[in-house]
């Protein structure tokens, strides 16, 4: 089965906010890079594209045929998606194991595991 893993950064430090990133030791920072690299090289993983900060998002709705755009993500910036990847796994246990290896999951964020549907 193919799963979409949505990475919610939550409070987890990323290099995008240097202050938060600096709260990690150098070894922890290296581990984050190494873990993401290892995940992207795991068989079955299709890495997602990099995403710019949630603040750069534009949210689009159509009402009565009129396109409405608002500044910012659909959910609050703190809850916005920070990244994603696709994973072909035998079953949910395989997807959960991979999700648990994503650094954001242990640093204050969370991973949403969504099964995909083949049409």
């Amino acid at each position: 089965m193919k799963y979409l893993l949505l990475i919610h950064q939550g409070d987890s430090p990323t290099p995008r906010s240097p202050e938060a990133w600096a709260t990690l030791t150098e070894a922890e920072q290296q581990a984050v890079y190494a873990d993401y690299q290892a995940i992207n090289q795991t068989p079955g993983v299709t890495p997602g594209l990099g995403l710019a900060e949630p603040e750069t998002a534009t949210t689009v709705r159509v009402q009565d045929g009129k396109t409405l755009t608002t500044d910012g993500p659909f959910v609050e910036a703190k809850e916005a998606i920070g990244g994603y990847l696709l994973f072909e796994a035998d079953d949910l246990d395989g997807a959960i194991e991979l999700a648990a290896r994503i650094p954001a999951a242990r640093l204050g964020g969370a991973i949403e595991v969504r099964p995909t549907v083949e049409w």
């Binding site: 079953d91 949910l92 246990d93 997807a95 099964p115």
Partner: protein
Amino acid sequence: MVDLDRVFRDQWGRVVAAMVGFLGDVDLAEEAAQEAFAIAAERWPRDGTPTHPGAWLVTTARNRAINRVRRDRTLAAKTRLLQAAETWEGDVEPTTFPDERLELIFMCCHPALALDAQVALTLRTLGGLTTGDIARAFLVPEPTMAQRLVRAKRKIQAAGIPFRVPRDHLLPDRLAAVLAVVYLIFNQGYGGRSELAEDAIRLGRALAELMPDEPEAHGLLALMLLLDARRAARFRDGELVLLADQDPALLDAAEIAEGRTALDRALALLGRGPYVLQAAIASLHADEPRDWAQIAGLYGELSRLTGSPVVELNRAIAVAEADGPEAGLRIVERLPLDEYHYLHATRGELLRRSGRTAEAREALLRALGLVHDPAERGVLERRLTELERTAPGA
């Protein structure tokens, strides 16, 4: 004359498990199992009971499912049954067909399902309870329970929750989840609905049999049996009877013996997990006179394992029995359980025994202010009256 209800209770879980393994779909599995039991109810009284009732039921359920899928191609497309049906040949070896109940229980108690859904699914698929039975046991309207089961089954299918015993590195956590579900079912029953306690014990027996090397599985079975043995002693004229006041003659000796056998097995496997420890404590409570020092020691071990202040409170009670009320009070005074009525009730009792009547009265009143259950209120009120009577000067 075969007791069909008994066969149903004994075989339902195995037949459903075999069908889920075969069909990959819980709804279809339940339907096929139901059909097989209906055919058995019609034929067995007439033609005699087959030598291997379980294998007969599985074979019949399988054949029914295959016929149904052959008639219904859309159904076939939804399951992996079609290929299986083409390759399926002949009868199952009656004595060797695999028991897949473990796969089923790990699927039903998967942590990706909500706890109430885990409980309902386990009772439905392994316990053979109807949706109505489960709804009544958990005081939920039947449509709500039906909805809960439908949603859980849909998630199993859509999210790919595996029908499999978890791999070794996942097993300890997953087994703990399964045991917690069974114990939750037991406690729902222990409060009064005795059929649920029986269902839980039956599930516990199956787990101990299916995982003979897991001490905690034997520990849970032992604990449930030793607690269930007190069923008749726990209530007198509809009122709750405290452990210390229970009549030993009302204990179920057969259940205690079976519980102790399971406990011995767990201890022989070097089990020292939370269920094994609780079962060991329950076993000591069935002795007269009680070995309070050993009970206190086991509570200490359980407390270190769980970090639970409620366990510490129980340890304090045992320590008070072994070393006197002041020793118990020293533990009670440092517990962060100010909103917990048992803390104040226990404190009141230990203060009374130390002769500190005024403080005891205050503690009991504090407990009374926190408790809502009428039976528990009754117990506290009786103790307050007792206190006034025996110490009129207070």
